[in-house]
Amino acid sequence: MKMNTKEKTIFLLKIFIPIIIVIGLFLGGVNAGIITFEAPNKIVTGKITATIAIDFGDGKNYSKAITLDNSTVFGFLLELEKTGIISVEKTYNEQMGSYEINSITYQGTTYVHGKDYSFWWLFYINGQFATEGADKIYVQNGDLIEWKYESF
């Protein structure tokens, strides 16, 4: 069906106005500092002290302050493993480009990630649920890293 000039104009406006609005919102966000091109977690040089707290979901808890050179959340967990308190099974997920926890063993009990599709290892930084991999987030001095074995 051929469109007349008016219909063509309305058609093109319906296409281009949303595109212009989206581009405008993006540029406005960049201008306002809401959208940036730098990663929020910059690597901090020097020694960092953070507290790592683990909730095993069955009443057992463990926490320890650890001091490391600039490291990720995952690095702090592996540092705790070196003390022999816990044992961590992990695999590298190529699709996500990061390590995943398979299980954490504490006091002879192994807490498996994804057990019965009901129990999962999640981690929080200063009370905030993390959406990136533990090996992608750099720890700041004084951070509280909470690993929780949660059921849902």
Binding site: M1, I34, I35, T36, E94, F129
Partner: protein
Amino acid sequence: MIGKILEGKNRIMLAVLIIAFGSIVRLLLHNNLPGSPSIYITINGITQPMFMLDLFFVIALVSLISGLLLGGYYTFLIPISIMFITDIVIGNNWIILFVWSGFALLGLIGYILKTKNYLTIKHVPTILGAGVGGVLLYDIWTNFGTWLGGWGYTYNWEGLALCYTKALPFMFWHLLSTTIAITLVLVPIIYLKEHKLTIPEFKIKPLEKKITIAVPTVMIALSLLSVLV
């Protein structure tokens, strides 16, 4: 081959072709996606990547096409079949019913557009708008399921707001990728339909129409039951 299938109005063969295509693409791409681009957004005090890449757009596009071109039972059968086949290999998570019903809803949107004869160049903006609306609906629905299931979120307004804030990178990617996919795939199909290709009108019986609407509704109900019970 596609021309012959369309000539023969062979709905089943076309459905099989779409299922095969969608499954193969999803399986091939699922381990080959690039990492998130270095664009970050801060909303609600939370800074996170602006786009988290996944293969939503493949199934979303297939769902819309199923509803637009085939209609009827295939509106939900095709996307659910692809998800079923590929989830055997890739796996899914505990909001599987929310995800599957979300794609069935997208198929239903495509089917509604089909019933209104919107498969024309003149209605491309409407199709794009419906696609965007469908993606938003999908994300609102699946993230509601995530919150309802208690995945690290508290059962209050703050928890709900946090859940949706954390979902924004996925939503932005879904909107961008699906809009591009619709433009690259559906618009040429519509153009060919108006100029060369004959897309048959498959007759949908009244019972089939009712089932087409009922199935996504039942799936939504089952999704809610799966987390509430």
